[in-house]
Amino acid sequence: MKKTVLIALAVLLSSAMLFAGGQTETASSSNAPQKLTVLTTAITQNPEGPLFEEYVAEFKEAHPGVEIELSGIPNNQALQQITTLAAGGSLPDIFVSTENTIGALYDMGITEDLTPYMSDAEMADIVDSVVAGSTIDGKFVMYPWYSGPNAVLYRTDWLEEAGVEPPKTLEEMVEVAQAITGNNRYGFGMIGTNDDSGQTRFVMILRSFGARELYQDEDGNWKTEVGTPESVKAFEYFRDLRTKYNVAPPGALENSFNENVNLMAAEQIGMLISGSNSIGKIFTQNPDLQGKLGSVEMPVGVTTFTPVSILGWSLNPESKNKDLAVEFMKFISDKDRQIRWVETTGRMPVSKDALANSDYINTPLFEGYVAASDAMQPAPQASFYPEIKTELGRTYQLLITNPNLDVEKAVKDCQAAIERIIANNK
């Protein structure tokens, strides 16, 4: 008995080693002239994955002899993976980048300036706010593929029922939310987690009240407007949605983007600040909601703010096939493919041509998103920006869990923390 076990183990082991030897791959930096290595977040997703692979197949068909090696990575692991690959000297030719990661990637010096590869006409076709968001220090370091601007997604039927119009201002948003709250329904889906989803949405409100969490003055010094009366109002506004007006469902601080999409699909919330990609998810979970959703641009306070949200590609400066790589980026984001992309995934095109000519998005459902994709404004490109957003998140969570706390003091503490972060990073 023991012997058979041992023999079995030995066989397994040796076969494992055999496989290990047999499957050894040559490192991706092999000198085959017509090979592209691509790191993407698309293939781990659905429905993005299959469509992306279709595009890749089309590219291969149009470019015989070209080999494309795809590797997938979940969104939340992408920066970590790219850093590891770059530190290990195995960075692929093309890798995914977003408005959140491009600053860090640029800082590492691993993003090629794509300006020389672009014709004037090609640049002119990209939505202006997207170009601005893809450019750092005058260098075009991210080739945009699609955008995901936030807008207010709302239940048209609930608003009609309550006899209210979609909100244009922040005050109206509270009124509308109050009008549709009741009967186990909540007017406003609050993303109260202290993660990027929650923080970004709060920044939208903060900036709409006229306070910037981080900006550069004329001398290039980083400053914050957290601590100003406007910022206090913004924090109060956000807190009151949950604790005073009760228009946001309980458990707001644990509900991130995913949970809020679930709540919208479960017909618990009537408005949600979110990207257009949530529409598809909501319809999958609850097909009855088709025809009952609409979108409107982010409501205005003293001003309005829709942060840039782009997913694109960056080019490894050490790539041996730069021209082919750029060709690949252009190929998969041409007009028709952008239109097909939005129809399948709900992600907004970045080409003006595609935006204007997609029948799919020129509907009331996408109204807010089409407007928003033209109105995106870049967020500060400081390496310590995520840390500052975390500090904002901490503060709104603190205020919501302690509704009686002195807001001004909490905001002053937040200001001190932000200023400390800025000082630490001089």
């Binding site: 850093t83 860090a104 010096g109 458990g251 601080l253 644990e254 679930n262 995520p386």
Partner: protein, 311 residues
């Protein structure tokens, strides 16, 4: 008691051996030979990462193109930062409660599940070991879902039994969030210790129980005098490992709360991850890690010291 003799044996015996075998190299030679493969693996694979981790704690670096030597700046900054101490204390608290919970459950279930007269042993063992089989990520998601205020199972059950009117915000309330995380961590972690202890219990000779029973020991005394000394080496090793794991535990907490709400579950590992891979300040992240490392070493040394004193 014979088993206690076993316990005491290794030390006195090795001491005796040392004296007897002074000058003779045979024993040394065999011991070194047997432990060589392990040592080789460790040296080949672990020394470099370890040194790397320690070295970058002295640098301001993004690991690619910026390596600015900052000496002890990060250490100074951290050691004067109150929030760092808070997160250390929170980590200690999390570790103590979680490990204690796991140990109690593991001792309880393992001692029951090796009893001869226990029916359906195999089935119960297989059920109780289940949490161990699933990845941390999935367990984190499932518990987050169960705890959810709006569509979670726990609130649903409590509400349908009319125990509560309003749903409880388990993970949104700073005073319950840590407990929720601890419950989930205990649930996920106790089977490891249970299995280890069950295996250890098998090596306690059965005749010792019979002897104890003849001596009129009740089951508690039997546990105290026979069972526990018999499994002590395994128990203390698993405890030590559990403490180290809990101290640097990350995945479940991250998936359940991301360190929130406010700072209720912001343990050290959350900060290490965030400073490293969200803020891209690897040097500072490493500094935190090194300090955690030192704390764990200090703890291990303390434990060894106490053990030696006891012996």
């Amino acid at each position: 008691m014979p088993s206690q003799k076993n316990q005491a044996l290794p030390n006195s015996e090795t001491k005796a051996l040392k004296i007897r075998k002074k000058g003779s190299l045979t024993q040394d030679w065999v011991g070194n030979l047997f432990s060589f493969p392990a040592l080789f693996v460790m040296v080949a694979m672990v020394v470099y990462p370890l040194i790397y981790g320690i070295v970058i704690s002295f640098y301001n670096t993004n690991l690619i193109n910026r390596f600015e030597f900052v000496g002890l700046r990060y250490y100074g900054r951290l050691l004067t930062d109150m929030t760092f101490y808070k997160s250390i204390l929170l980590t200690v608290w999390f570790t103590v409660v979680t490990v204690a919970g796991r140990a109690v459950l593991a001792l309880l279930f393992s001692s029951i599940l090796v009893k001869d007269n226990m029916p359906c042993k195999k089935l119960f063992r297989s059920i109780l070991v289940l949490p161990w089989f699933f990845p941390d990520v999935v367990i984190g998601i499932v518990w987050k879902w169960l705890f959810n205020t709006n569509y979670g199972l726990f609130n649903f059950i409590l509400q349908s039994l009319h125990i509560i009117d309003q749903p409880i915000e388990w993970l949104s309330n700073p005073s319950t969030a840590m407990w929720a995380v601890i419950v989930a961590s205990i649930w996920k972690g106790f089977p490891f210790m249970m299995v280890m202890l069950m295996a250890a219990l098998q090596t306690v000779p059965k005749d010792l129980y019979e002897a104890a029973e003849l001596d009129g020991c009740n089951s508690f005394k039997q546990f105290q005098h026979v069972t526990f000394p018999g499994i002590m080496p395994v128990f203390s090793t698993t405890m030590m490992l559990e403490i180290m794991w809990c101290f640097k535990h990350f995945t479940m907490i991250w998936n359940l709360t991301k360190g929130g709400p406010v700072d209720a579950t912001r343990v050290v590992s959350i900060d290490i991850y965030k400073t490293g891979f969200e803020y891209m300040r690897f040097g500072e992240s490493s500094t935190r890690a090194v300090i955690v490392f030192v704390i764990i070493i200090a703890f291990t040394l303390l434990q060894k010291f106490l053990q030696r004193k006891k012996d």
